[in-house]
């Protein structure tokens, strides 16, 4: 009765453990939409891992997309796994049960590749832990020929150096195409018998695939605490690895079979990705920098994916995902098509729009789609003063914010949440205290509509990230961040209706160590892990002391890695990895930031040559030639010029090469502005 389809299933050993753990449904698979993996000799088997709990990892779209694409291939098979919670891990270690897949409960060590998706730095120790649980040597240098190849992908892969000694491969950028390229090389290697000593050879071969970085193929030289160079060991290994980018999202309508889990997860609704990339140019935002250019999904494909997804999963809620969904050209078309009758009936589909822009138009849109649930609405002004918002290029005027808040409270919402960063470049106490002024004004606006009106300020410490204009900035110290949080808390005590929540500055410091770390930080991660530091993004398991002790034990300075400002000529640990952005563009943008100059969104204004489109021969794919109605986040741009701005509507196909193309032969399709396009 409990057979699981293949000889190597661990189910019979896992099953008795599940009676003793919390939330055993995390480990059984069986989701609606799950694909039955078809293992066969000769096929390349991937275990796609999310190094956090099932509830957080299951909704991850990247993992679902790659899982489908791989299982559609004749030469590949893929399964999924997530970090087992402490209780199960203890039982697994006690009874020698290795990390297993949730689909068919195969041992992780039986797969050809174990690939992790990394969304945040604090999960690095979970990656090491899961490699160890798989029964594989944690350091890549100690692995056997036929051990799984350990792969990293996701946003954190753009500085994988802290894990460079623990992984075999890193994939930069979007995975849809490159996983096929990797599969083919590994398939050949398997066919050749994986002879002893051939592991290095296959890594070298894989490092020739654009977008693939094999850390072991590079030498790292230091000059005291400084990094001197990261250079390839062989002539055929690229000096700079460039990210992979899917030119046309319309060609990848995945996931086609979205997963509806059997137990509650963090984003328990259908998700449909409406575009990738963001050119708002917020200078603190790594996601916006490394995912350029903007590529919208055709609106009719979005509609089809929503319809099919809802029918397959039985969900009654869909989230339209992107980095700023109100910027999607077809947003109103799509939302109106989902609920043509308007809201109020029993079979209404609710639509959630994460990452809302801050303006009244956006709130109006949210009002049309939110259905009955109107408790709280979230905005991210990020900084407390217009001056500082120009520094970070989050160009929201106070009028935008108040208009948005007015719109929200007048439409029935009674709670607003405002996200802010503290510890930003050039920040003064006046900027910090400006946060409470904004919040207090928002409460006042709300009280005109409801006595229940309240505003929650959510305060996060800023961590400078690689491949952003702020990568040279010295992160605020723990003490300084605590002082600023305290300033805000004290000011909020005098502001009625304003609540403050904040992120623990100690965790921000640990994030800072990992975010811009070099290879020497790997040993620190290993020490934190050996000291029991897993699930570090869970506050109940985080202790900064473990990180400080590990840094001290390795003789590394927190001041050097985290708090020091870098200069223009410093070799950065990720200089050999490229998201397409010119380093001199980023430096120039850093100087512009310090000069308090904002930079407009290049979707609707002329190119300022950040390097991505020109370098990779790809283009923005944006259906609307003008910024969305309601203004472009109050940028003060001259929006009347919208019609003159060249926007290429068609993707130009070009072979991706590891060397960025230097020629640029684009014939822009100029679309005249329609009179009816609302530009207010």
């Amino acid at each position: 009765m409990y057979t699981a389809g293949n000889m190597t299933s661990l189910w019979a050993r896992v099953e008795p453990l599940l009676a003793r753990v919390q939330k055993p449904a995390r480990y059984i698979g069986c989701e609606d939409g799950a694909i039955t993996p078809r293992h066969a000799p000769g096929k390349v088997s991937w275990l796609l891992a999310y190094p956090d709990t099932y509830e957080i990892g299951l909704p991850n779209q990247g993992l679902q997309i790659l899982n489908e694409i791989l299982n559609e291939r004749d030469d590949a098979v893929a399964e999924r796994t997530y970090a087992p919670w402490h209780d199960l891990e203890a039982l697994m270690r006690e009874r020698n049960v290795p990390l297993f897949s949730v689909d068919t409960h195969r041992a992780a060590g039986d797969f050809d590749l174990l690939a992790f998706s990394l969304a945040a730095e604090l999960v690095y120790t979970n990656v090491i832990n899961m490699i160890d649980l798989a029964g594989v040597a944690v350091r890549s240098a100690h692995r056997e020929t036929t051990d799984p190849l350990i792969v990293l992908g996701g946003h954190c892969a753009f500085n994988p150096e802290p894990l460079a000694d623990y992984v075999d491969l890193v994939v930069l950028g979007e995975g849809e195409e490159v996983i096929g390229d990797i599969t083919e090389v590994v398939r050949e290697w398997k066919a050749s018998g994986q002879t002893p000593g051939s592991r290095d050879g296959v890594l070298r071969e894989l490092s020739k695939i654009p977008g693939v970085y094999a850390p072991a193929m590079y030498d790292v030289e230091y000059d005291g605490p400084a990094l001197r160079a990261v250079t390839p060991k062989y002539a055929d290994v690229p000096a700079v690895v460039h990210k992979r980018t899917v030119a046309d999202l319309g060609e990848w309508p995945y996931p086609k079979s979205p997963l509806a889990p059997l137990t509650e997860v963090v984003h328990d609704r259908l998700a449909v990705e409406v575009f990738r990339g963001c050119t708002r140019g917020c200078r603190f935002c790594q996601a916006g920098m490394i995912t350029r250019p903007v590529r919208e999904r055709p609106a009719d494909q979005v509609r089809t994916m929503i319809q099919n997804g809802l029918r397959r999963t039985g969900y009654d809620e869909v989230s339209l995902t992107s980095l700023s969904t109100a910027d999607f050209s077809g947003i109103e078309q799509v939302t109106q098509a989902i609920n043509p009758a308007g809201c109020g009936t029993s079979d209404t589909i609710s639509i959630s729009l994460p990452s809302l822009r801050v303006d009244a138009f956006t709130v109006g849109l949210a009002g049309q789609v939110a259905g009955g649930r109107r408790s709280g609405l979230t905005f991210a002004p990020e900084a407390g003063s217009w001056r500082l918002r120009q520094v970070i290029n989050k160009l929201i005027t106070e009028e935008d914010l108040y208009g948005a808040v007015e719109s929200a409270f007048s439409q029935g919402w009674y709670r607003a949440k405002l996200y802010f960063l503290t510890g930003l470049p050039t920040e003064t106490d006046a900027d910090t205290l400006g946060i409470i002024d904004l919040a207090r004004n928002c409460v006042q606006i709300g009280r005109k509509h409801t006595n229940r009106a309240s505003v929650t300020v959510s305060l996060g410490g800023f961590v400078p990230k690689p491949h952003t204009p702020f990568q040279w900035f010295g992160q605020n110290t723990n003490d300084e961040l605590r002082r600023k949080v305290q300033l805000v808390r004290e000011a909020s005590g005098r502001a009625k209706g304003v609540n403050v929540k904040w992120h623990d500055p100690s965790a921000t410091l640990a994030e800072g160590i990992a975010a811009r770390g070099d290879r020497r930080i790997g040993a620190v991660m290993e020490r934190v892990w050996r000291a029991g530091g897993i699930f570090q993004e869970w506050s109940e398991f985080f202790r900064l002391g473990r990180w400080e002790d590990a840094m001290a034990a390795e003789g590394l300075s927190i001041e050097w890695y985290v708090h020091r400002h870098r200069d223009e000529h410093e070799v950065l640990p990720w200089d050999h990895l490229s998201a397409g952005l010119h380093k001199d563009f980023l430096w120039l943008d850093w100087k512009e930031a310090l000069a308090e100059h904002g930079l407009p969104d290049c979707r609707w204004t002329p190119c300022y040559d950040c390097g991505v489109c020109t370098g990779y021969g790809i283009e923005h794919i944006v259906a609307s030639p003008v910024p969305p109605a309601g203004g472009s986040q109050g940028t003060g741009q001259d929006l009347s010029r919208g019609g003159e701005i060249p926007v290429a509507l068609l993707p130009r196909r070009r072979e991706h090469t590891s060397e960025p193309a230097t020629d640029r032969a684009v014939v822009p399709v100029v679309v005249p502005a329609s009179d009816s396009e609302g530009v207010s």
Partner: protein, 243 residues
Amino acid sequence: MKLRLRHTKLGKIRFTSHRDTARHWERAVRKAQVPLAYSAGFTPRPRMSFGLALPTGAESLAEYLDMELAPEAGPDIDLADLAVRFSAELPVGYEVTHVVARDADSVPSLQEDVVACTWVLTLEGVEAHELRDTIERTLAVPSLMVDRERKGQRSTDDVRPAILDLSVAPSTDDPRPHLCAMLATNGRGLRPVELLAAMFPALDPVDTAARVLRTQQWIERDGLRREIIPAVPFATRTPVECA
């Protein structure tokens, strides 16, 4: 139209919770495109109510829920067909075995109505004769005190009144002994694992309960116990694991 349904919950999905089961049903109903009546109010919910919670990890041949169809479903809807449609849309391990129409208001809710459940427990580490002796001893004592924890509260209770019947279940192809227990659900009730803790204090009850299967839920009518919807012999779809 108001309906009462009986279904199984077998195999890997036994590790999902009672709350999860409710969510599985909500999605299955939408997928099957069966129009349900909705509650009034700001956030309308489909009119479904579930019977006694099945402990996470336990299997069942006798789970129940009530639902109310929207008027547009019509009075002539084919109930046997509904069972098939729901089974097809539910996760593997559920099978809807009965769908019956229910008088509008005359029937009390499932939670109020059920007085007892019968469980078949497959025991690990217990010999058949040991089980027979323990059953005899347990039924003979006038009271049976158990330390247990409910919602974080520790208490010592006499659970003997909740034990309505114990017997050795006829053995199937599984050589391990099977304990058949009818346990009252009113008052604080008695959970199968608590029963094992009381019967075999020297053993770990979680390890001992290799399989926990609810086979019947009982209500009382005119002084007689009967099943909510009597199981007529039917060929259960063999639970197939999803992978």
